[in-house]
Symmetry: C2
Subunit: 333 residues, 2 copies
């Protein structure tokens, strides 16, 4: 199976990258990173590593655009390192004690070392993408690096908005899009775009893959927002109502706030408690937030699949890419 | 004066880079960065910006190696952005409320936004170095980017050690070098190395400039350590004794700890208070820490100037580079 081959090659490439942070006196730094990546410590294993969706998108796109996916391995590892650097910093910013069922890096090693561990992964991401130059032309390598760096800037811009929204009361529904485009859309779009760039695909194909990644990311995020309020708690492994309790400004919430109905009135009165959640989720649905978000998720899903078709993915990887997109867009958890 | 021309060109390049983080809804993010860079807010101005020594080293090296320094402006801005990203994160890690007499970013906007502001500057640094490709060959641009990224990794490794040493009791004097090589030496070495790379200097000249930057960085740090304990409080603008109070593991302190004399005994008993500082500094001097550190600072200074001579800097920029090095190595504050 091509996905299994890719997953094990990505893991090897990631380990090779993270190895560079170790060495004399640096065993503990390396351990922090290996712990976060899901390779070391209690609970290590695939569950702790996450699904490696981003590197798979890079490799599948490269192969579906007609090139040898092994050439894109440094780019695949680099996007996953960027993703993980941002998770380490996110967990500090959100004060989250747990990630994937394990203690977060800051919880275990303290905030100062966790900030630095994130910075280390970020540095490794940059070094790793340049390894493209070992097999690709300098022009292709530079272009891929440029896309990755632009994406990192967008990530930080999205994160700025997310943090700023926490304390802002009068948010309109339009505030949602620049935030999620930066936080989720940009990196998924970079994955498919970089995969196509490394494959030396024609410009229109690169653009189609970039649009596919962006729509996929937005559809994925909208679905996350739906699951965060109306998901099945047993499938997601967390309280299905957690987005209402955490106060996350997801699209359904912003929709409800703009309606200024009973949901908005309750929201403005302060933290929502567990026993209110079921009723409030129902209320928000009655006000139309579920249908509104569902409809947008469907639109972005349709658009993602159209863009993917325009990109004309080929071969086994093309099939696998379509399959992965469909799975991501219809997940229940 | 060539230095003034360079300084104003650097400032323009930096502003152009930081501008990219702004735009719709992002005015506050831009403001945080502009504030930290010393351009905005109370107390804005050259005092708040710092001396821009690192970009000057890049530009002077490029010119002294016989090329047009304007070509190196993206690299000069990139190293300064890296330096400033690390300062924002350092201030969080050290819990420092003030930098250059002004509130630090975390103190003003909170830890989550400050982590993200640092990440934003880091992303901008990466984008900015790639602008070299507008005037240099792809190969030169890739090599410069590679050096910068390796340097960022070394910075984070040095920072890991610095943080880890805080809670480690049994440090030997050897522990000092990997920490300061990462925290100070690596970036200064990258400045001169990248300047020479962009100038397309011969390999032996690039290496000589790299060694010059490293020795300059280490000599600079050793002098900082001396000033941190025995400096003139009025010149440095801070309590001359602050390194003893802050508990910083500088070379004189590590020397004193290894001696296991009266200084080490007092140190092991916990925080040192203001009224003890003058006497303890005197004690540490009597145990030989001042002479030991002074001698090493002199050795690295001599070595820096020898390496610079080997690099054969030429023209007005060559003179200015020698002058800058001498000033840095004989500063009193």
């Amino acid at each position: 199976m091509i996905l299994d081959e890719m997953l094990s090659a990505v893991e090897e490439e990631l380990k090779r990258a993270v190895q560079q942070a170790g060495g004399n006196d640096l065993a503990e730094l390396h351990y922090m990173l290996a712990y976060h990546m899901g390779w070391e410590g209690e609970g290590a294993g695939p569950e702790a590593s996450g699904k490696r969706i981003r590197p798979l998108l890079v490799l599948l796109t490269c192969a579906a655009a007609g090139n040898d996916w092994h050439r894109a391995l440094p780019a695949a590892a680099a996007v996953e390192l960027v993703h993980n650097f941002s998770l380490i910093h996110d967990d500090i910013q959100d004060n989250s004690p747990l990630r994937r069922g394990r203690e977060t890096v800051w919880k275990r090693w303290g905030v100062p070392q966790a900030i630095n561990a994130g910075d280390t992964l970020f540095s490794l991401a940059q070094l790793t993408i340049l390894r493209l130059a070992e097999t690709a032309s300098p022009e292709v390598s530079l272009r891929a690096a440029q896309v990755l760096h632009e994406t990192c800037l967008q990530l930080t811009q999205g994160q700025y908005l997310d943090l700023a929204y926490e304390s802002r009361g009068n948010l309109s529904i339009e505030a949602y899009w620049p935030m999620v485009t930066g936080k989720t859309g940009a990196l998924l779009s970079a994955c498919t775009r970089i995969g196509a760039i490394v494959a030396c695909a024609p410009e229109d194909v690169i653009q189609a893959y970039a649009r596919f990644g962006l729509s996929l990311g937005l559809a994925f995020q909208l679905q996350d927002d739906l699951l965060g309020i109306w998901g099945d708690a047993e499938l997601t492994g967390k309280s299905a109502e957690s987005d209402l309790i955490s106060g996350k400004k997801s699209l359904p919430v912003l929709y409800g706030l703009e309606r200024q109905g009973p949901f908005a009135r309750r929201w403005s009165q302060g933290n929502i408690r567990s026993h209110e959640v079921r009723e409030l989720a129902e209320q928000l649905k009655n006000e139309g937030a579920y249908d509104y978000t569902r409809e947008l998720a469907n639109q972005h899903t349709t658009r993602a699949l159209e863009c993917l078709e325009q990109a004309r993915p080929s071969g086994e990887a093309g099939e696998a890419l379509i399959g992965l997109a469909r799975r991501l867009l219809s997940r229940k958890a």
